[in-house]
């Protein structure tokens, strides 16, 4: 497995160790790209900062909380309204963001007083909200404000409020990943164990590393509830602050995004003896296996099997309809961190597409281990990608579609490569059996867009066809299919534009308790 040297990066030899091509019959012992090292300045890397990793990725999905950033206004503004983590309380966390608005005089004389006034003002503006998270930024870290002392002061004055402090300035680590780590440990140290939950089931889990992008968490909670499992908390999508203070009472931590939240699970195991079970909510097989594993852990496999059977019967035919039409399409799977291994094998097996490249912006070598092992031969794996290397990769690999972020998606657009948003999704949720069909639908819509076909025609040079007034996706996707497939009565995905409101209305059967609840649990 040779390291891959990009033409555009020949002048920075250290980049050579950051990309590999998986050769025939090779495995991880042959080579692995380096990961999570300091960024080379000036490469136009796609990495973000540790502040955003803490505040924007992990903190803010908590829904009943005032999220206050202590610093100049830009960190708050720039990260606000750039994600799709929804909640069932009218999206408070998406709509409101708070900045202490540090100015020059505060840099000189300190901003602790300013912070305190801010905290009080924010609580006064939203009298129904009693919980707050405060995030350090580069500027306030450098001037050395003691945010914890201020938080303690306010909590002493106002016993009804609770405040969490996260010291994760933007410069703290090579990427946003540094912030994931810091907020994991800070939450555990400050807040876990400070609220005692009501235990209502024999099977109690925390669902960790899940941020409810377009409703993913609510889809997954539906399965857990149908199995009679009590989900004590979700770290952190659509979750309340206080539920996350009671994580220590779970019987099992079910971990989705190991990149952003494994630190917390590992420490909960050390401190409270709670086992960690890694799962995948993406893909019919991976999700089925995940539900089975959880069922097995609690001895309720039958409940898992019932769900898998029902969901598969409903959605597998539609997934297969897309698979038939996406067979062999080449994909660059270029997400941020964990999706490179959540998706790589699942989309290849279940949608028939071929992953020709994976990259990770803030992943560690562990993510590359999983990602590379789940890719096929010839796949190009890139750590800490940058603009020129991506362009070179797209030119040489000629993907049919690319999964990446919004702005890199614009680069792809110009190169005539359709893009899907890997972080926020195009039309998610993508988790769950139905969600996976939605993902396939979005890929199909991108690849077979009639407009994409038109964009290839140079009307000044080409002898182009003019006989048709329109072309449908189906005319493009079914052209080479056998008659039997063309005759399929299906037409693809049949679900709703937004499946989440129905889930919020849903009621669940009560399962009989196996163990009588302890009086003072």
């Amino acid at each position: 497995m040779p390291y891959h040297e990009f033409e555009v990066s020949k002048c920075i030899p250290e980049r050579k160790m950051h990309a590999v091509v998986k050769g025939p019959g090779e495995d991880l012992t042959h080579a692995l790209p380096k990961g999570y090292l300091n960024t080379i300045p000036g490469t136009i890397s796609e990495r973000g900062c540790a502040y955003c990793g803490a505040k924007h990725v992990i903190g803010t999905p908590m829904k009943d909380v005032i999220h206050l950033s202590h610093g100049p206004v830009g960190c708050t503004y720039d990260t606000w309204q750039t994600k799709r983590y929804i909640s069932d309380n009218n999206n408070f966390q998406l709509k409101y963001t708070f900045a202490s608005d540090v100015k020059e005089k505060h840099i000189v004389f300190g901003a602790e007083k300013l912070l305190k006034q801010n905290i009080l003002e924010a609580f006064d503006a939203f009298p129904d909200i009693k919980r707050m998270t405060i995030y350090q930024t580069c500027a306030t870290a450098l001037i050395g404000d003691d945010m914890s002392a201020i938080a303690e002061e306010v909590m002493a004055e106002r016993p009804e409020v609770d405040i969490f402090v996260c010291n994760s300035p933007g410069f703290g680590g090579p990427s946003q990943s540094g912030g994931h780590h810091k907020i994991n440990i800070a939450w555990l140290n400050q807040k876990v164990g400070t609220v005692e939950p009501d235990i209502t089931s024999d099977y109690v889990i925390n669902y960790v590393g899940e941020y409810n992008i377009q409703g993913d968490q609510e889809v997954m909670l539906d399965f857990f509830r149908r199995m009679g499992i009590q989900v004590l908390s979700t770290f952190t999508g659509n979750s309340t602050y206080d539920s996350l203070r009671s994580m220590h009472r779970a019987h099992l931590n079910v971990l989705e995004c190991a990149r952003s939240a494994e630190y917390l699970c590992d420490e909960l195991r050390v401190r409270y003896g709670i086992p960690r079970l890694d799962i995948d909510g993406f893909g019919h097989k991976a999700l089925g296996d995940s539900l089975r594993k959880i069922g097995l852990f609690f001895g309720i496999e039958d409940r898992a099997e019932a769900i898998i059977a029902e969901e598969t019967a409903r959605w597998k035919p539609e997934l297969d309809w897309y698979k038939e039409r996406l067979q062999g399409k080449k994909v660059c799977l270029w997400p941020g961190g964990s999706k490179l291994w959540h998706w790589a094998h699942a989309i290849q097996e279940e949608m028939g597409v071929k992953v020709v490249s994976v990259y990770t912006k803030f992943g560690h070598q562990g993510d590359m281990e999983k990602g590379v092992s789940r890719c096929g031969e010839g796949a190009l794996a890139i750590d800490d990608p940058n603009e020129l290397e991506n362009q070179e990769a797209m030119l040489t690999l000629k993907p049919d579609v690319i999964f990446t972020g919004k702005r890199p998606g614009e680069v792809a657009k110009k190169m005539r490569v359709p893009y899907l948003n890997a972080h926020a999704y195009h039309n998610g949720p993508y988790k769950g059996f139905e969600g996976w069909v939605r993902f396939a639908r979005d890929i199909y819509n991108a690849v077979y867009s009639p407009m994409h076909q038109l964009s290839a025609i140079d009307i000044s040079k080409d002898d182009y066809e003019t006989g048709k007034g329109f072309v449908t996706r189906r005319m493009l996707s079914d052209a080479g299919l056998p008659e039997e497939a063309k005759a399929s009565p299906l037409t693809g995905y049949t679900g709703k534009f937004d499946p989440i409101p129905d889930l919020r209305q849903k009621t669940y059967p009560a399962f009989e308790r196996r163990v009588a609840p302890a009086v003072a649990e």
Binding site: P41, P72, D78, L142
Partner: protein, 462 residues
């Protein structure tokens, strides 16, 4: 006095209307051809600003980071800039202009980017890139001063300062557009063309409305060249219609090269466009052509269709960059509307001396509030708790939830407008902009009448 100017009466910010200075410098930098800025600070200062601008323009473009990590924050991070310049120049052979844009972190630790640039010019550039034309310049934009608006103003001034030269008189004017959209630049250039006036436009971002080409090779970039910037020192006059977004550069050219300048007014609406054209005519001696009389007439015709029947007395709140917000307020008054609340810019103390604001104070005959250093809570709190009633909101996308949650129609203007398609393509300036704005506002109100079933039948016979 009916119209009151006040500073936000809270200390913190709930839902900011603006971002910080480095974002403004970055927006200015992408207007220059063969220019890639290096933002000296944490990576988020670039990554999120690029995302923000690309959400607005639906395009990509390049800005680099010096990627300051912990060690740099503790021991100084100038070595990161050195590496960044070398790596950037090595990998982007076409790049000629590299502004080093500071941020809060690197201003606090006191990294001397000015000194470093001298060192690089004598060392790296002379040794490794001797056969290349490369210009480095420092732009100081600490995030804890001003806002993205002042960051833009500072950056435009610093670009001009770096390049402007006194040469043979060009006979051209300088037009510093301010923080506008590709559609605005197109409209302004159209006016100049009709007037037969030769101008250097800072910055030529019209090209950000760019195509997908069959060969897949189209790239979005600004089109203002080094030669354009150099020529600003030999112009006959500088126009900076947006006082707070280009005014500093106009002052610099006046002081250093004795080039007279006209700062303001923002050419939003018929009246302000008239003023700009008149001044252009005076300065250049070129008459205002009949073609523009006709265009103006088309705009007035369109506005007459909607103004006194539908727009009159409609209560509107306006937020955004100060020049935009003030210009819109003036135009709304000409449309017989009643701006209730203007949320302006940052903590810039000079807003109260703006002649346009003084004129509002002297002439508005109903209660109107102008808030400086404002945030979105200044709007929402008034709606939620203080009885403010509105028919319309004018502003950018970050305020979208106020419109949604309080059922007030909204016309997207300014930056950023990511939640509506193609907003960047349309002008708000000039006669074309006046037409577009008036019709957008009318259509927003019409749609609202239908959604709320509020005299929706009125439109049967319009």
């Amino acid at each position: 006095m009916n119209c009151e100017v006040k500073v936000k009466d809270r200390i913190g910010t709930i839902n900011p209307i603006f971002t910080c200075q480095p974002a403004g410098a970055q927006y200015a930098s992408i207007g220059i051809k063969d220019c890639i800025g290096i933002v000296h600070g944490g990576q988020g200062c670039v990554m999120f600003v690029r995302l923000l601008i690309s959400q607005h323009l639906k395009e990509s473009f390049e800005i680099a980071s010096s990627s300051v990590h912990e060690d740099g924050a503790v021991f100084g991070a100038l070595d990161r800039v050195e590496t960044a310049v070398e790596v950037l120049l090595s990998r982007y052979p076409h790049v000629k202009v590299v502004p080093i844009i500071s941020t809060c972190s690197t201003e606090v630790i006191g990294d001397d980017i000015d000194g470093l640039i001298t060192k690089l010019e004598e060392g790296l550039l002379a040794e490794k890139f001797a056969d290349r034309e490369v210009h480095l310049l420092p732009i100081h934009t600490p995030s804890f001063v001003g806002s993205m608006v002042s960051g833009y103003d500072v950056a435009v001034r610093d670009f001009v300062k770096k390049f402007a030269k006194k040469g043979a008189p060009t006979g051209k004017i300088n037009l510093i557009t301010g923080w506008v959209n590709p559609g605005d630049v197109k409209e302004l250039k159209h006016l100049l063309k009709e007037m037969d006036i030769d101008a250097t436009v800072l910055f030529e971002i019209e090209s950000f409305d760019s195509p997908i080409m069959p060969d897949g090779k189209a790239v979005s970039h600004g089109s203002t060249t080094i030669e354009d910037l150099q020529a600003t020192g030999s112009a006959i006059h500088t126009f900076a219609p947006n006082r707070y977004e280009g005014g500093k550069a106009a002052q610099l050219l006046e002081k250093k090269f004795k080039i007279p300048s006209t700062v303001g007014p923002t050419p939003i609406g018929i009246r302000n466009t008239d003023a700009l054209l008149k001044k252009l005519s005076q300065v250049t001696g070129k008459p205002i052509p009949v073609s523009l009389v006709r265009e103006r007439g088309i705009a007035i015709d369109a506005i007459t269709d909607v103004a006194h029947m539908f727009l009159a007395d409609k209560k509107v709140a306006i937020y955004g960059n100060p020049d935009l917000a003030i210009g819109l307020a003036e135009f709304c008054l000409d449309l017989e509307m009643k701006p209730q609340l203007l949320l302006l810019g940052d903590d810039n103390a000079s807003y109260v001396n703006d002649p346009r604001i003084k004129a509002l104070q002297d002439n508005v005959d109903y209660p109107m509030e102008i808030v400086t250093n404002a945030d979105f809570w200044d709007l929402e709190d008034r709606l939620k708790n203080k009885g403010l009633e509105l028919d319309l909101i004018l502003g950018h996308s970050k305020g979208r939830f106020i419109s949604i949650d309080y059922n007030i129609p909204m016309v997207r203007v300014g930056f950023p407008t990511y939640d509506r398609a193609g907003m960047f393509r349309n002008p708000v300036v000039g006669y074309g902009g006046a037409t577009w704005l008036a019709e957008q506002m009318a259509n927003a109100l019409f749609n609202d009448m239908e959604v709320k079933k509020n005299k929706e039948w009125l439109l049967n016979v319009w």
